[in-house]
Amino acid sequence: MDRLFINRWILLFLSILFLSPTQVFSLSKITGKVIDKSDGSPLVGASIRLEGTGLGTFANKEGNFLLKGIKRAKYTLMVTIVGYESKHLPVQVLDNDSVYLLIELKSKPLSTGEVVVSANKRIQAVQDVPISISVVSNSDLLTKGSTRFDEALRYVPGIIMNKDNINLRGSSGFAFGLGSRVALLVDGFPLLSGDQGDMKYDAIPIFNIEQIEIVKGAGSALYGTGALGGVINIITKEPEENFKIKGRLHSGFYTLPRFQQWRYREDVPWKFGFDISLTSKFNSFGYIISGGLENDESYRQYDKSLQYHLFTKLNNNFSEFTKASILFNFASDKSDDWVYWNSLDSATIPPTNINKDARILSTKLALAGDLKHIFNSKNFLTFKTGLYRTYVENNLNISDPEYRQSNALSFNTDAQMNSSLADRTLLTYGLVATFNRVTSKLYGKVNQDIYAGYIQGELAQIKDLIITIGVRTDYEKTDSSDYQLEFSPKLGLNYTSFFGPKFRLSIGKGFRAPTVAEKFASLKFSGFTVAPNPLLKSEISWSAEIGSTMDFIIAETPLQYDLSIYHSEYDNLIEPTFDNTQQGAVIKFLNITKARITGVEFTLKSLLFGFIGFQTSINAMKPMDINLNRTLKYRSTFFWYNSLLIPLGNVELYTDYRFINRMETVDELLKLQVRDYDARVPMHILDFRLKLKLKEMTNIPIVLTLNMKNAFDYYYTEVVGNLGPTRFIGLQIESGL
């Protein structure tokens, strides 16, 4: 069955690839040069795109660019580059025309020149998006020395990592990682597992990420199930023109805890790993091949892990108008089965009665194809298809009550068209099919099918105003359960005011169909029994947000603020709940509650004294369980993140501090299973990094980074019964040729 599916998918992909109609164009072109307004110097690498057409290019080392094959029409040219204001220029192109543009951009130190694809499934400047969006760039990842996906997100405004759950503006509590309320995509391809609907952090190709886009608020109008609280889209790097090899070696250790009771070993536990990546292009063909491993002895006993990963991306430009890429990603993880501590007094060891011989082996394989075909300068197709297989098994005997095994295949296909109907009127529409095939000791043999269609219009005829309207319909059916039909509309406004600030407003619906695991789980682990609930319904959310952003200068200091006030209403929230109707201490996933989350998020960026980078963000919210009239479980209500960069010649000093207030409530019945379940405190985490660029001093292309995470060795819990990572001191060496 699985092989048949795979064959059909490959056949469909290749058919579209080779049967795409040949483009018929008039041969108009736009050429030009992008320069700095103040001194006329060329802006190398500036991005130039014709909005809504799929046509785009970059300025060369002289600042020149060329766009070919453009049909007679009016267009908007979008020009962006880091450190400069973005520009939208109206362009009129006639038949067999050649338009030349000299584009001058004004320096704007805090501008990241970001373009994003996730907010509206098309490339656009981040400031034109009607919803809150944060971008973690490749340079941010390098700066922070992130070797794991969850580390990369820890300072994103509005995000709290609850172990395996990403809590975006309060959307998620703690659910053993199951049923993510944030959709995860890699290059637009869904990467939530077919059985548990969870994120496998080690399956993210962290060494090959160009940027991470985090869209906040319900996003089901484009992304369907899972986008209840937001969407995270990981954009991987593109192959480089010339052969390049780069590598990263990192190693470090957790310092021994201050308290003798917590020292479970005499020597320090180590973590080390490496990544290596090759990339090049031959004519129209480009590739990236990358691999690596990470071995973590952990600051806790029985929490070791060894991970391998392999990533390959192949691109081929069949013509200027037809491009295809294939992405292959494999990750394997062998780890101990840590769940919670023995007690606060022995916080680094697991309960004494668990089987410490149990090991978990998991593998993840993603294979995805992406075809982009520009029919003409008004219409282009993006076709994505692929599969994501996750396999998990522990090494216990099959007759052991705690034996676990699950094999899930998720097939996804998204055929999307973008059409430019008239001047500044863009239409995005498509069809989606998702098939989850699960064969599991835990969940049985289960099939889940989802079919969806979506359409969205963006209207920008009114000066400085962009209106976005869209709707998506999803049909979901899981084996013998009743089918579910969901309509997810959205409305967005983006307005650039004459007095400076940009304003945005969005309203949208999100939903999440229960995962196979939540419906059919039947397992035992670490004293918990999880029972199935096939009657689970989808959980839904309505999110609204108003926001504003502006760049301004006070006393010659450039500043940028971003302010959002958001409100979400959740219904039928699915939560793991102790079920008192069954024999034993049984957890079931139940549609238990209505919730309301209202909050405010404020971010301020600056360049102090012209060279010290500074960012602070505050998020304050009120996450209420309406049924119980109390704060939602596992939610903090206030978090404050800060980052400071001090460049001192070839040395850069970074410091990050995050404060998260104490979770008000957790499930009190955990008290029966987890000692000191209530041990939790506010978090104060300080990280330091010292980066040394040897290339500037010795001409050797090496960057050394000394990092200290949780420098004050502050002890806290992120989730019940889990001591957070203790102080870690590490060294990272990066080089590229």
């Binding site: 308290f259 009771q261 069954q582 019945l669 008290k671 002890y715």
Partner: protein
Amino acid sequence: MGLAPKEPSKKSYISGQISYKGGRASWPLPDSVLEIRLVAFKNYPLSDSSSILKELTDGNAYFTIDTLPRFVDKADYSLEIIDPPALLKYIAVAQRYGNLFQWRVIGVYSETGDNTKPSTVMVNPGDSLTNINIEVDFLNLPPQPF
């Protein structure tokens, strides 16, 4: 600096032995003995059977986190009293026979040996009180504490 383990000198415990009259042959059928825990209540008597779990979750009772050995002649236990001083008015052995809310008391600490008259124990910081022994007689269960 955040969380910290307790200093051993400030910890308080009660400990003792639970003996089962008639030995292992006296135990009921296994499917009705899902867990055995030692529980020490600050309040006594309780209002009804459902208040047992409420006392536990409200922090008015202490209990062993795992089940004690079942189907044995006797079993030792040790229970930390996490926030002394505490006046323990009712120390009992509890059997879970069904779901999370279905418990019954099967033995009571009584200095006189009369299981209808539970004894009170005062635990101060640093105390380690031993010989809090309890006899369980499945054929003559004590009255329930509500």
